[in-house]
Symmetry: C2
């Protein structure tokens, strides 16, 4: 039996990135995927200096000393809508009317916003057809101007390899004109349930039979972790059925094989022996955790093989602590596996020393502080307390209990 930390290290040492299998995707399909290599900007953003506001482009020095009492008057020589380009150059005491985003005219180095200007009659009584404006605002150089390249320089690395594509990343990539991008391949994860007691979800219950719930829970977990789940159905507790299923799994070019059930100590637990028989190098088969202790891990060639416990809560916990981190490493994602929330425990709970416990809890927020309670009975077959939990409270090996008011760490699930 090895510790959770040691087991995790063994799993991660044997998980290697799938970056070579990167695929090119259209921008909108890349949401939630992982960037497979550093992305450099093909252009500067902004591409040209432009106005940050609706207003008038002018020379900042012409506003020097402006105030409510001493307003400055400008000759408006042109009006540039968004999407158009100014044709004239701004000279002394001249201004060009400009919309947010419109390119700065030559000669101008600041924009006065429209709310700080008034229409004006010329005090110098030039031709009546001309337009004038006055302002009380003294401007700084480049005030209300977005200068070319101030956000992103051409050639700059804008997204590092390993970055998760969220909507914000999509937005920036669209602005850079990247209509497609390279993301890491999704690891293929085969899910094989085993057991003579299992029936399909659609089947009627019969004495001694239970429905295969593990395959569906793991399907969701694999998907949420960025993998591509492949449900292989149910293998029976005999060598022929299991061997057939293992071979079927390995033919499908998988990266990970999850075998659920059949790894305890009992007579009918032949899975581990058969895995060895087909060439699996077993690396560990018991972890000091609860639930999830009967957890086997090995490799067939480059394929990671997890023998997960048959109890659905145990299989989920084993997935969260070992398979999810392995998937993230394969995806090249450099981020935490779980969001961890600090909370105050509101009950008393005893545990066995030497084991790391994962306890299902519900969280309650009171004025920004979080409080955790058990989401129900903690038996490793208890589905309801699993479905009703916000996350799992992680209790370290060294302690024998947690008491009301103790600070605990809760790994959020989804």
């Amino acid at each position: 039996m090895i510790t959770v930390e040691r087991a995790k290290r063994v799993v991660l040492e044997n998980s290697s990135g799938l970056t070579q299998g990167a695929e090119s995707l259209p921008l909108t399909s890349s949401l939630g995927r992982i960037v497979s290599k550093d992305i450099k900007s093909p252009c500067a953003i902004p591409h040209f200096s432009n106005s940050a506001m609706d207003g008038y482009a002018l020379r900042h020095r012409d506003t020097k000393g402006a105030s409510l009492e001493r307003q400055k008057v400008f000759n408006v020589i042109e009006s540039v809508p968004a999407g158009s380009v100014p044709k004239k150059k701004v000279g002394r005491n001249e201004a060009i009317r400009i919309m947010t985003g419109a390119p700065m005219p030559l000669g101008a180095d600041a924009v006065v916003i429209v709310e700080q200007t008034r229409e004006a009659k010329s005090e110098r009584r030039k031709a009546k057809s001309e337009e004038f404006m006055r302002t009380f605002k003294e401007l700084k150089r480049w005030e209300n101007v977005r200068r070319a390249g101030e956000d992103i320089r051409k050639g700059e690395v804008v997204l590092r390899k390993g970055t998760l594509i969220r909507s914000q990343e999509l937005m920036m990539l669209a602005a850079l004109g990247m209509s497609s991008l390279k993301v890491t391949r999704r690891p293929r994860v085969a899910i094989l349930a085993t057991g003579d007691e299992l029936i399909e979800v659609k089947s009627k219950l019969a004495p001694g039979k239970i429905r295969n719930s593990n395959s569906y829970g793991l399907y969701g977990s694999v998907l949420s972790a960025g993998g591509e789940p492949i449900i292989l159905g149910i293998a029976r507790d005999n060598s022929a059925s299991l061997l057939r299923a293992f071979k079927d799994a390995l033919r499908r070019k998988i990266d990970i094989l999850l075998v659920v059930g059949g790894i305890s100590v009992g007579d009918y637990d032949i899975v581990k022996d058969l895995l060895k028989q087909i060439g699996t190098k077993m690396l560990f088969w018991k972890v000091a955790m609860r639930p999830g202790k009967p957890l086997a891990f090995g490799m067939i060639g480059k394929v990671l093989v997890f023998g997960l416990p048959g109890n659905p809560v145990s299989s989920t916990m084993a997935f969260e602590q070992f398979v999810r981190p392995a998937l993230q490493k394969m995806l090249g994602y450099i981020g935490p596996a779980h969001f961890v929330r600090e909370a105050y425990f509101e009950e008393n709970f005893e545990k066995r020393k030497g084991f790391r416990y994962f306890v299902r809890v519900k969280l309650r927020n009171e004025d920004g502080k979080f409080f955790a309670r058990l989401s129900g009975p903690q038996g490793s077959a208890m589905l309801k307390s699993m479905a009703h939990c916000d996350g799992v409270m992680v209790l370290p090996e060294g302690i024998a209990k947690v008491s009301r008011g103790d600070k605990v760490n809760v790994q959020l699930l989804n």
Copy 2:
């Protein structure tokens, strides 16, 4: 100009649940969707009392007084594999070998785990063909037994309307034999970018033109909020183009229309007038927030219409504060719009009183404490600091600055 809170109230008062449009989905497709009505369990879980461990089913009273020194001997009368049903009844000092999950035999009310037993020769020297085991363990009634219905009772509400389907919910629903379930319809959200300055992502940059990044950012945001995004492309800054686009949008049976750009004060901002012209009841058009101030909201019939600012950061902030909550209400999801993290700010930042600020920050975790720094310059057109942020620090209306060491709340993005 109204406050963020007041604006949110107006939006939510006008967002109604789409539960009537519920759809039935196969179990695996329901991941990430919202349950549209309370789900009652069609059966008990466990469906039959069964063993929680590999071991021997027996009568607990026959182990009374057992200890290492005074071990109790049992006649093993049957062996039941998982998936099978015991045929015999357990009598005094009898035991049936049983696997985890196998049904409890009649007569038995406890299970001793296999590790706490040894093979035994009969001390009573019965027939040699018989099998015996001995144990040092004194058992309690129902020890190591999962009793029928102890997890879920038949008819019990297992998932409330409004629950998000995660992998744990999938698992429980599979165990209940629910191969399909009813979830709320995804709200249809049309995204219309406006502006003569906009070009498509694939187009070459030209003077005065920028690429349409808002549609892609909003596409991702709508998807991540549970909506169905419909990108309508770009409308130009003239009545004909805009009216055509609005009518096109409304023909598509949408629930929300997002019009991006064209709602500022300038001459070319005709969107708001046209929206009124086609029958939009405008409810507000400026919110005391930064970025995101020029935000219009109204209704055309039952369709929510948001006029979002054209700056990509502003449109994202407006989406997060108003559109995401509206989508969640439509979906019937009762959960927070954002995950909020408390952090210590590591810089100094000045703001204008009277406005709620949303400031892009990066978070750093040090021994469980979180520290926030600006993710870059905060201009509302700055895409890089948006892509590089972990979330937005929310600064309330009443304050004029935050200083190094101040505790702040950060809304995480994705």
